[in-house]
């Protein structure tokens, strides 16, 4: 692993730990509430077929964008998560995250914090949210291929966050959202790695 790869791996895990890994049911519910509250602000023609709900330890809900003929049903539990994505008349695919069998692609690595730079953070945010390295196109029947669903498959809350980002095609809003995130995840923040509250993460 190169020095650059080590730095970025560390940042990746730091961001996940502090913003996308709500630890208990209360934080998870708060995270999902904030998530839902920003959907109509950020996503065009949003679909709310089901609001977040709690059944025992499971959180269930649906989000989508009618102008993209896209709907995602999710079920998040402490040990696993299931996502079913529905597209158009017939496309439907489903995947699950089972933490008991899933091995994250690499563990956090130690780095010299002084070597971290903002460009690394920006690149990680891009690879997490805006242009995932591995992704599926929702909108692949036209020259435009802007919806990329991918990275975050291993982290259910990150998955929801990047899905929300991808369901907005407006480049201006996307850029504004990315700029907002880069103001949250700064080098200063990395020094202490404080937990990012859902309210702050979603700009509420």
């Amino acid at each position: 692993m190169s020095a650059e790869e080590r730095r970025r791996t560390h940042i990746w895990h730091a961001i996940i730990r502090s913003a996308f890994a709500p630890s208990d049911a209360g934080t998870r519910a708060t995270w999902l509430t904030c998530f839902y509250q920003t959907i109509p602000i950020y996503v065009d023609s949003p679909v709310f077929s089901k609001f977040p709900n709690q059944y025992g330890e499971s959180f269930l809900g649906e989000i989508g964008c009618s102008s993209l003929d896209f709907l995602c049903k999710y079920k998040i539990q402490p040990e696993r998560a299931d996502f079913t994505m529905l597209r158009g008349d017939s496309s439907e695919w489903q995947y699950g995250i089972e933490s008991s069998v899933f091995v994250p692609n690499g563990r956090d690595v130690r780095v010299d914090r002084a070597s971290l730079c903002q460009d690394d953070v920006d690149k990680v945010l891009c690879a997490m949210i805006t242009h995932p390295r591995a992704h599926l196109h929702v909108y692949n029947d036209k020259p435009r291929r802007e919806v990329r669903i991918g990275t975050g498959l291993s982290e259910s809350f990150l998955f929801l966050f990047q899905l929300r980002f991808q369901l907005c095609l407006d480049p201006t809003r996307r850029q504004a959202e990315l700029s907002r995130l880069t103001r949250i995840f700064t080098l200063n923040w990395l020094k202490r790695e404080r937990v990012i509250s859902p309210q702050r993460l979603f700009g509420l």
Binding site: S45, V47, K50, S66, G88
Partner: protein, 621 residues
């Protein structure tokens, strides 16, 4: 309304108003009409002009283009539909006097003798600006309402005096500015000919017709000559070409157009060139495809049915079948059939309600090109000449299946008896969506809980308990989404004469943070419903849920040719228990229990708890 520069901009077909809206969404497809309006505006001639078109054709947007894009701003603006506190002779004269006084005070023009502040009951100050404010604003309290009513009846008794006073103010203003005043009268189109409200308004319009006044009217007003103002030069706003409708919809879709582009020719065809009808069709189609995940052909049928039910309500007993058949056969309507003194003729009524769509103004004034609204036609007739594409093939399959017209009305079948036609209408009208509480939430959530939109939903119910439960459930979800406050207004508890004032007094949040839940009284009286209809545009800035008893729904839709265009209508299923299960409501409460609660979340909790209690009680658990 907040607009997204690159995103989807859906609404119920509201007029574009701001520079931002016009720059994003306006299609400059009426250069001749704009040119004529600018020419009229710049002319020194003191001559009025009627700007007329059918509902939803784009008159108000054209006026915005004139004022915002062309910079042709009025010296005095009257918005009779939105701003007049009461649709009575005293209300209209008082409103005009109030607006003119405001302008005179602004221009430092002395108010001529006539009605005086001291004529107002309880007025001790002699302050003209306070009186002008009173005459041009909706009362904020019952006491203010009583005071305003007293002033208006005083003005009505002295209408001749007030008329002379208004005329004198207008002349003084013209003298001061050294040119004819440009007066714009918006919202005259909301007052159908022959109605009592129009009888009250017409003398005021006659006065203004003596000046350089632009009147926004419905096309049916262009056919009459009963009043002086109706004899002014006319500028007709015709439906758009289909290609223009496609351009307009592409702008509404922004960067999402690729997924809908192929269906737009069909939407344009079924719109009849009416931009509001087109937008409503596209929204309904978008919802059916995206949220309901219907196949293309089924989604298009759903859109046509929904828009027809919301937008073109057909009362069973009032279908001018002979006129429809003649227009369908001839392709025109005789002007003489639309013209009339007093109440609208059946043909004029069909034009006013957009059942008939008039084409471009003919050379021969007697034969005006017209067609049946495509949503009332056999679907197959409308789709016959659509271009070929996979989307069109799907829509044509739908049309083939429904060629005999369960969605449209096959007036071509001349052998049908009127009873058969009415049976067909009755069976097709019953297709309005009947939803249980959860389905209702799914359907209205995207519009109701959007921070950028202000939609109005009309929900008909049979069982008060089911309605109350649905209301609590929707309000609970809205509170969970952070919408606060939800303002409940029960018009049935207000004295009949005070309902309108009570409603307007409660509408205080134009920023869109609140949701208004308005319960209509049982068996509402027609005058009240008509008042609401004329004041349609007052409701534009507000997020609203209207609740009405199922048996009162036909009356509302019949009396709301204007208001129903800004409403989506649903019927609430009677059955409560099939919809909500205690464990589902408990799941909502469990979820809320995890959250640190602010006031909206407390409200959500209270509402869900009430819903849970009702559901448990009904189940006997």
């Amino acid at each position: 309304m907040k607009r997204q520069p690159n995103g989807v901009n859906f609404d119920e077909g509201l007029a574009l108003q701001t520079p931002e809206e016009l720059s994003l969404l306006y299609v400059d497809a009426r250069p001749e009409q704009i040119g004529r309006l600018v020419e009229w505006y710049n002319s020194e001639e003191r001559e009025g002009l009627l700007l007329g078109g059918q509902i939803g054709v784009g008159k108000s947007t054209l006026l915005s283009a004139l004022t915002v894009r062309e910079g042709c701003k009025p010296d005095v603006l009257f918005a009779f539909d939105r701003e007049t506190p009461a649709f009575s002779p005293g209300g209209f004269w008082g409103y005009v006097l109030g607006r003119l006084v405001e302008r005179a005070l602004c221009d430092d023009v002395a108010i001529p003798d006539g009605f005086a502040p001291y004529d107002c009951p309880e007025d001790k100050t002699g302050d003209w600006s306070a009186v002008a404010r009173l005459l041009t604003s909706f009362p904020k309290s019952m006491a203010e309402n009583d005071r305003l009513s007293a002033v208006q009846s005083h003005i009505a008794k002295r209408a001749g005096l007030v008329e002379r006073q208004c005329k004198a103010i207008l002349r003084a203003l013209e003298e001061k500015s050294g040119r004819p005043l440009r007066i714009f009268c918006e919202g005259v189109d909301k007052f159908a000919p022959g109605t009592p409200d129009m009888q009250s308004l017409a003398p005021v319009l006659d006065l203004l017709a003596e000046f350089k006044t632009l009147f926004e009217v419905n096309v049916v007003h262009l056919f009459g000559d009963e009043w002086k103002w109706q004899r002014l030069p006319r500028l007709y706003v015709s439906p758009f070409e289909e290609s223009t409708i496609v351009d307009l919809l592409l702008r509404r879709l922004g960067v999402y157009e690729a997924g809908r582009r192929d269906v737009l020719p069909a939407v344009a065809r079924f719109s009849g060139g009416n931009p509001r009808q087109a937008l409503r069709l596209l929204m309904a189609y978008d919802y059916a495809r995206g949220a309901k995940r219907m196949p293309k052909e089924e989604a298009f049928g759903y859109a046509c049915r929904r828009v027809r039910d919301d937008y073109l309500y057909l009362p069973f007993g009032a279908i001018p079948k002979d006129i429809f058949a003649a227009v369908d056969r001839d392709g025109f309507v005789r002007s003489g059939l639309v013209t009339g003194v007093g109440l609208l003729t059946p043909a004029a009524d069909a034009v006013y309600k957009n059942w008939l769509i008039l084409g471009p103004k003919p050379e021969d004034d007697d034969k005006w090109p017209a067609q049946l609204n495509p949503l009332l036609l056999s679907a197959k007739l409308v789709t016959d000449v659509l271009p070929e594409s996979p989307e069109m093939a799907a829509i044509k399959r739908w049309a083939e299946r429904h060629g005999v017209s369960p969605y449209g009305l096959d007036f071509d079948a001349s052998c049908k008896s009127s009873a058969e036609v009415l049976t067909e209408i009755a069976s097709s009208s019953s297709s309005m969506d009947v939803l249980n509480i959860v389905e209702l939430l799914d359907t209205v959530a995207a519009a109701l809980f959007s921070a950028d939109r202000c939609d109005r939903v009309l929900i008909a119910y049979r069982e008060p308990l089911v309605m109350e439960t649905a209301r609590d459930y929707l309000v609970g979800k809205a509170s969970e989404m952070g919408f606060s406050p939800v303002v409940s207004i029960d018009l049935g508890t207000m004295p009949a004469g005070e309902r309108l004032a009570g409603l307007f007094a409660a509408l205080t949040d134009a920023e869109g943070h609140a949701i208004y839940s308005i319960l209509l009284p049982q068996s509402p009286d027609k005058p009240f419903l008509r008042q609401l209809d004329r004041r349609r545009d007052v409701f534009v800035p507000y997020e609203m849920l209207w609740w009405v008893r199922t048996e009162d729904l036909p009356l509302c839709l019949q009396e709301w040719p204007q208001l129903r265009q800004l409403l989506s209508v649903y019927i609430l299923e009677d059955e409560l228990l099939g919809s909500l299960k205690p464990d589902e409501v408990q799941a909502d409460l469990d979820y809320l229990a995890l959250l640190k609660k602010d006031e909206p979340l407390h409200e959500a909790e209270r509402r869900f708890q009430h819903v849970l209690n009702v559901v448990r009680e009904r189940r006997g658990t």
